[in-house]
Assembly symmetry: C2
Homo-oligomer: 352 residues x 2
């Protein structure tokens, strides 16, 4: 089983890499090779993997890189016996994608992308990375004639306001950001390439990941994590939107579970509609804060300061709320049931 991960240096990419290194297998088959691509060097490769052991994810961050790994490098065998290769480069640049599929991966996790805030601020970068990068990868797969299972991380940003209270699977796609537009276009490509048998694609529309570990990134959704993550370690946090904003969340651990589950799905059971909205926990900001209070007490809640931000609000107000995710649930995707559970997973995975 050969696996390629694009965007492997990102938060989900690092957690997925750690999970695969720990498991040593995917879809019941032993992993023989793991290719990690990102525009910056993926740090995970320097972590020795113990087969069957869950790695502490925090240890993957800010780890000093082995100088041999700066640039494309044939890494040695992992401790669990598979080869890890890192690839540093722009997926949209000529030749990059062809180099990545050269080893004929059986499964590709296509995670590479710039986040919503950045795609909105930088029009050209967003289209280049989120659309051209995806298309370049798909085209390289077509040229290589390998038809791998390809799991693509799309986003609930493909949907646009106004929304019903609970959004059904067949809600129309009217994104209201460039990021959502790029994800929608990539989903359309994935479905067409899958229909033609060029690749065996599954698009998963991830809920907003919460609690996102580490430092804030440029995602407009960053505050949803900050108001939990910072108070849990005694730091202040800013809430830039009204407390009645409802949004749809999943933990990083569950997001990785979604990816692993998608890799093993029977494509025939999925059918021609290859893009699936993932289940999650739909709660208001107030309900998030109430859960924080239950888990960490009123002193944590007191660290949240309301400071309205028009730029963030203008994006977030058009975001979806709760999803039915009927198809994904029927296909066996499992999410948290409460926001308390999401906070507890963060504490287990990041703060122990």
């Amino acid at each position: 089983m050969r696996i390629l991960i694009t965007g492997a240096a990102g938060m989900i990419g690092r957690k997925l890499t750690a999970r695969l290194m720990a498991d040593g297998k995917l879809n019941g088959r032993k992993i023989s090779q793991l290719d990690l691509q990102d525009i910056v060097p993926p740090p995970a490769t320097v972590i020795p993997a113990q087969a069957g052991t869950q790695l502490a994810i925090n240890s993957l961050r800010d780890k000093k890189l082995d100088p041999r790994l700066r640039g494309d490098d044939e890494g040695g065998d992992g401790d669990n016996g598979f080869k890890i290769t890192t690839h540093v480069g722009d997926l949209a640049a000529a030749g990059t994608a062809a180099g990545l599929v050269h080893h004929k991966p059986d499964v590709i996790f296509h995670l590479a992308g710039v986040v919503s805030g950045e795609a909105e601020a930088n029009f050209e970068l967003g289209y280049r990375v989120n659309l051209d990068g995806t298309r370049a990868l798909f085209e390289a797969i077509r040229a290589a004639q390998i038809s791998p299972r390809l799991v693509f991380t799309s986003s609930i940003a493909v949907f646009g306001a106004p929304f019903p209270v609970v959004i059904p699977d067949d809600f129309h796609l009217t994104p209201m950001t460039s990021y959502g537009t790029q994800k929608m276009m990539s989903e359309a490509l994935l479905a067409d390439y899958a229909r033609r048998g060029i690749l065996d694609g599954i698009g998963i529309r991830l809920p907003t990941i919460c609690v996102r570990p580490g430092k804030p990134n440029k995602a407009a959704s960053g505050f949803f994590s900050s108001i939990i993550r910072e108070p849990l370690v005694g730091l202040p946090a800013i809430l830039p939107v009204p407390r009645d904003v409802v949004h749809h969340f999943t933990s990083p651990r569950t997001a990785v579970n979604f990816l692993i589950h998608a890799a093993g799905l029977d494509g025939n059971a999925v059918g021609p509609r290859r893009n699936l909205t993932m289940p999650g926990v739909g709660v208001s900001v107030q309900e998030q804060i109430d859960a924080l209070g239950r888990v960490a007490g009123p002193q944590a809640v007191a660290l949240i300061e309301e400071r309205p931000d028009e730029a963030i609000w203008s994006i977030v107000k058009n975001w979806p709320t709760r999803f039915a995710a009927t198809r994904a649930l029927a296909l066996g995707f499992e999410a948290e049931k409460t926001f308390d559970e999401i906070i507890l997973r963060h504490i287990e995975d990041e703060l122990k």
Copy 2:
């Protein structure tokens, strides 16, 4: 008022050109310049326009081209006093689109594209023309900072089976052809570019055009016209699909009316959902044939031969049936009410 038409040599492009040359104005403003682009020379420019006179459309076909018009050429003033320039070139090629928007058109009709059957048969050509060509045009507009009204001809092929009996405006987009995928992706671009103010776009999802004049093209939908057009002039026609297939039609004249109406719409009244499903006549093949019998008698109907074609059926069976087109009707788009009317318009416009 400066106008650019891409795909001006196509059937709709020629009819739109003739209409604009006859009207001499658009949105109540006098036309000062008309730029006609296609990958083949647009023949319409050789027709002397009489302001206020409806040109006979048939005369635009197979007209021998003035040799000066083979290639980019500054045409002289039309008889009604506006300048017509033809541009022959591939919209997706570097520099073509920039050259087209050089004159800062106020209104652009973006019609260029390859049809469904061709996009399905030739994967690379379809993406190049239908997606890359559109994006190149939009990017040239962004670079020129002109924000024109841009009317884009999308298609009901953005929708995919299974369908409800009447398809609502907010039905989800799950195309089942590469053509539909390319139109869906172009719609997404149009909405995002419009949201950012780069262009003032309106996408109109045209029903299948019927009766399409002239010779059959590579569209999988060709037989819908053939079974009417050929018998009306005493020729045999082939029906490759079952008679209970229901589909959504509009005449060429009405399609041109849609384009003209879209050019004058108030963008604020349209709102952020810039892609509109057009109204049309939803009938079964049997109802088409019944209308032909009413208009032209049983001897015309007898010229239709049923000869099932699996390749055509595999595409057509996933096509939509009837549309509500609620938003378009509210915005003043008007269609035929019966298929008899569609046949009579064909006779008026093409056979007199």
